[in-house]
C-alpha cells in the first residue's frame, strides 16, 4: 500500500468483510480502499471468493459481517438496485445481457432509474414522457457511439459476436452513470489482440467518465498491464497487495497462484 498520504477522496472502503455460506467460508476479513480514479485489480485462484466480494458490494449477497462504505454511505443493507442508483455498476463474468432485446433497449433499461417520469406519464403519454424518452434515447445512442456500437443498436443482443457483447455490457454498465465500475473477468474468452483493445478501452472510459475501476481478471497480461494496484486473495483471505511488480515477485503469490512458469 502507498504509505504517502492520499489527497484524493476515498470512493470505496471495505473493512472486515466476511461471508459464510452455511459452514463454508467464502470471504474472510477482506479490506480494500479505493481512491477516486483508481484502477485496481483483484486476482486469485478460482473459487477464492473474488466474485463473492463483487456480489456483496453490489448487494446481491448480504455479508455475514463487515462494512462497505461508498462515498461515506454504508452499503450493507441496501438492495442491489439502490446500490446501483448510488453509483456502482458492474459487468458479469459470463455476460448477462438481456439477450432477446435489442442493444438499444439493453441500454435504455439501464437508464430506467434516471427516467424521471411517473407511471401515469407513461400510460398517458404526457409531454414529460415524450421529453424524457427522447433524452433517454439520446443518452443511450451517445454511449453506443462512444463504444463504437451505433450500427448494431437494433440487433438482438444475443446475436452479436462475443467481443461486441462484452462491449455492450460495459456500455450498459456505463449507462447507470456509475462512479465506481466493477468488471468481472472482462477479458474472459478474448484473444491477445482483443485483450489489447480492451486494455485501451478500460483506460479510455476511466478517463472519459471519471470512473474508479475495480476488476477481477485471470489474464495476467491485462492485470499487470493496466492495474495500478493489485490485491491477491486465496481462500477468501488477502495474501498480498501491491503494484504489479511487487505482486509478480511476491513468493506467496507465486506459490499459491502464479506458479513458476509465469
Amino acid at each position: 500500500m502507498n504509505t504517502t498520504a492520499e489527497t484524493r477522496p476515498v470512493v470505496l472502503q471495505i473493512e472486515g468483510l466476511t461471508k459464510y455460506f452455511g459452514g463454508l467460508r467464502a470471504v474472510y476479513n477482506f479490506d480494500l480502499t479505493l481512491y477516486d480514479g483508481d484502477l485496481v485489480g483483484l486476482i486469485g485462484p478460482n473459487g477464492a471468493g473474488k466474485t463473492t466480494i463483487f456480489n456483496q458490494i453490489t448487494g446481491l449477497y448480504l455479508p455475514t459481517s463487515g462494512s462497505i462504505k461508498f462515498n461515506g454511505i454504508e452499503l450493507v443493507g441496501f438492495e442491489p438496485h439502490e446500490i446501483t442508483r448510488l453509483g456502482i455498476a458492474r459487468t458479469f463474468q459470463n455476460i448477462r445481457l438481456f439477450g432477446n432485446l435489442t442493444v438499444l433497449d439493453n441500454l435504455r433499461i439501464a437508464l430506467h432509474s434516471q427516467a424521471g417520469y411517473s407511471l401515469f406519464d407513461g400510460i398517458l403519454m404526457t409531454r414529460k414522457y415524450r421529453q424524457r424518452e427522447a433524452e433517454i434515447l439520446e443518452r443511450a445512442q451517445e454511449l453506443l457511439e462512444i463504444m463504437g456500437l451505433t450500427k448494431v443498436q437494433n440487433e438482438l443482443a444475443r446475436n452479436l459476436p462475443y467481443g461486441e457483447q462484452r462491449r455492450v455490457e460495459i456500455a450498459r454498465a456505463l449507462a447507470c452513470s456509475p462512479r465506481l465500475l466493477l468488471l468481472d473477468e472482462p477479458a474472459a474468452g478474448m484473444n491477445p489482440k482483443e485483450i489489447t483493445q480492451l486494455m485501451d478501452l478500460i483506460h479510455f472510459i476511466r478517463d472519459k467518465f471519471k470512473l474508479t475501476v475495480l476488476l477481477i481478471e485471470h489474464q495476467m497480461r491485462l492485470v499487470m498491464g493496466i492495474c495500478e494496484q493489485i490485491t491477491v486473495i486465496d481462500f477468501g483471505e488477502i495474501i498480498a497487495r501491491g503494484t504489479p511488480k511487487e505482486i509478480q515477485n511476491n513468493p506467496r503469490v507465486i506459490e499459491a497462484y502464479l506458479g513458476k512458469g509465469a
Binding site: 443493507g77 439477450g99 439501464a110 432509474s113 427516467a115 417520469y117 445512442q141 463504437g148 437494433n154 478501452l201
Partner: protein
C-alpha cells in the same frame, strides 16, 4: 359444408379483420398538411375518427332494424365474451409474457372483479346503496393507506416481507372496517332515492344507472388490484414454479369462497354454489368497447414506457436487471397489480353482460384458458393475445358448438376433446405461439433509426 358453417367462418375472419383494421387506423401517421399557411398534423384526428367509426360499425351491426340484425343475440354474447377475455388475457400477458411471472391466479381476480361489481349493481337496483359506498370508500381508503404504509416503509431496509405484508394487511383491514361503518351510516340517506327492483327510483335508472355501472366496474377492478397487491407482495418473492402453484391456489381459494359466499362469507345475495341471479344486464357494446380499448391502449403505452422495459428486463434476467438499478420486486408487483386490474375490469364487464354468476365459471380448470390463450397467441405479443382471445371465443364457443351441435346433441362436448388436441399439435409444431413476438398496427414497436453521427464521434 352448409352455408351457416361458412357464415360462422366468415364471422370469425370478419371480426379479426375488423380488429386489424382498427389497429391499423390507430397506428396511422399521415404527413402534416398545410392549409392556408398553417401546418396541421391530422394524425390524431384521423386516429380518433377511425376509432369512432370502428365503434359505430359494430354498433350498427348490433342494432335491430325491425327484425333484421347482422349479429344475432348469440353473436353479441360471443362479442362481449371476447372483449372480456381480451382484457383478462392481456393482463395475464403483462404478468407472464412481459414480466415472466407464471401466474395461474388471473381467473381468481377475474372472479373477484365479477362478483364485486355484480354485488354493487345488484344491491343498487334492489334499493341498497351500501354496496357501492362500501366498495368505493373501501378501495379508495385502502389505496391511500397502502400508499402511506408504502411510503413509511420506504426508508426501512431489509424489512422481512412477512412483516411489511402484515402491516399492509392491517391497513387494508382497517380501511375495510371503516368503509363498512361509513356504508352503514350513509346508505340509509341514499336508499330512498333508489326505489326497489320493480319501481326504480331516480338514481336507479337511465343515465345514473350507467354511471353506477361504470363506478362499480372500476371499483371492482381496483378492488381486484388491491387484493393482488396484498397477495402478490409475499408470494412474488417465491421462485417461478412456486409462484405458479401459489397463484393456482389463489384461484381455488377464491372459488371455494364463492361456493361458501352465503355461509362462510356474509353475502346471502350471492347464493353460494347455486349462483348469483338477477344481476342487471348493463353491459352494452359502448362499455365493452370502451373498457377493452382502455385496457389495450394503456397496456400498449405501459409496455413502451421505461416502466415496461423494466418489466421486460425482469423477465429476461433478474440478476442483471437488479444490477442495472431496476427494482425487481417492485417491477413484479407493478405488473401483477396492473394485470389483475385488467382482469378485475374484465370480470365487471362480464358479470353485467351475462347477468348470472356461478362459481363453476371460475373453477380453476377453466382458469387455464387465459394462460392457454396467451401462449397460443404468443408470449409477449399483444396482437397475438387479442387475436387468440377473439379467435378462441368465436371458434370454440361459437363455431364449434354450432357445427358440432348439428351433428348430434352430444357432439358439442367433443369440442373439449378437440381443443386439447389442437393445443398439443400447436405446441408440437410451433411452441412459441401463433404470433411469436410479432406486433401489428399501432401496437407495433417502432424501429429506432440510427443516430446521425454529426457530433465529434469519438470511437474507442
Amino acid at each position: 359444408m352448409d352455408l351457416s358453417v361458412l357464415l360462422s367462418f366468415a364471422k370469425i375472419i370478419a371480426v379479426i379483420a375488423y380488429l386489424y383494421g382498427l389497429f391499423w387506423i390507430m397506428g396511422l401517421k399521415v404527413r402534416p398538411v398545410t392549409i392556408a399557411g398553417k401546418t396541421l398534423d391530422l394524425s390524431l384526428a384521423i386516429n380518433v375518427a377511425g376509432v369512432v367509426v370502428a365503434f359505430g360499425i359494430i354498433q350498427l351491426a348490433l342494432t335491430d332494424f325491425g327484425g333484421f340484425r347482422i349479429l344475432n343475440e348469440f353473436d353479441t354474447g360471443l362479442l362481449y365474451q371476447a372483449c372480456t377475455m381480451t382484457m383478462v388475457a392481456l393482463g395475464l400477458n403483462l404478468i407472464y409474457g412481459f414480466n415472466g411471472q407464471f401466474s395461474l391466479g388471473q381467473w381468481g381476480f377475474y372472479g373477484i372483479g365479477a362478483y364485486a361489481a355484480a354485488d354493487v349493481t345488484y344491491r343498487w337496483v334492489n334499493g341498497d346503496s351500501s354496496g357501492l359506498i362500501v366498495l368505493g370508500v373501501g378501495t379508495i381508503l385502502a389505496g391511500v393507506i397502502i400508499l402511506l404504509v408504502g411510503r413509511s416503509l420506504s426508508n426501512l431496509r431489509r424489512m422481512p416481507v412477512l412483516s411489511s405484508f402484515t402491516l399492509y394487511l392491517l391497513g387494508a383491514l382497517v380501511s375495510g372496517y371503516v368503509a363498512v361503518l361509513i356504508g352503514r351510516w350513509v346508505s340509509p340517506l341514499l336508499n330512498p332515492l333508489l326505489g326497489t327492483n320493480l319501481e326504480p327510483g331516480p338514481l336507479a335508472q337511465g343515465f345514473w344507472l350507467q354511471i353506477i355501472y361504470f363506478l362499480a366496474v372500476v371499483f371492482a377492478g381496483i378492488f381486484a388490484a388491491e387484493i393482488s397487491f396484498l397477495f402478490g407482495l409475499p408470494v412474488l418473492s417465491l421462485g417461478s414454479d412456486y409462484f405458479g402453484i401459489a397463484t393456482l391456489g389463489f384461484t381455488i381459494v377464491v372459488y371455494t369462497l364463492m361456493v361458501n359466499s352465503d355461509t362462510f362469507l356474509p353475502f346471502p345475495e350471492m347464493r353460494g354454489g347455486r349462483g348469483m341471479i338477477g344481476i342487471p344486464k348493463l353491459t352494452t357494446w359502448f362499455w365493452a368497447f370502451l373498457f377493452m380499448m382502455a385496457v389495450i391502449v394503456s397496456m400498449r403505452n405501459l409496455i413502451r414506457s421505461s416502466y415496461g422495459r423494466a418489466m421486460i428486463s425482469v423477465r429476461e434476467d433478474e440478476v442483471a436487471a437488479r444490477a442495472m438499478g431496476i427494482d425487481v420486486a417492485g417491477g413484479k408487483l407493478l405488473a401483477f397489480v396492473i394485470g389483475s386490474l385488467f382482469a378485475g375490469l374484465g370480470g365487471g364487464v362480464y358479470a353485467h353482460y351475462i347477468g348470472f354468476l356461478s362459481p363453476g365459471t371460475f373453477d380453476f380448470l377453466i382458469g387455464f384458458n387465459p394462460m392457454i390463450i396467451v401462449v397460443f397467441g404468443g408470449l409477449g405479443s399483444m396482437t397475438g393475445t387479442i387475436t387468440a382471445s377473439f379467435g378462441w371465443i368465436f371458434f370454440l364457443e361459437g363455431m364449434l358448438r354450432d357445427v358440432l351441435g348439428r351433428i348430434s346433441p352430444q357432439a358439442p362436448s367433443w369440442r373439449y376433446v378437440l381443443y386439447p388436441l389442437t393445443l398439443l399439435l400447436l405446441m408440437l409444431i410451433r411452441p412459441e405461439g401463433l404470433m411469436g413476438k410479432i406486433e401489428w398496427g399501432f401496437l407495433k414497436i417502432p424501429v429506432v433509426p440510427l443516430r446521425d453521427t454529426k457530433q465529434e464521434g469519438e470511437v474507442a
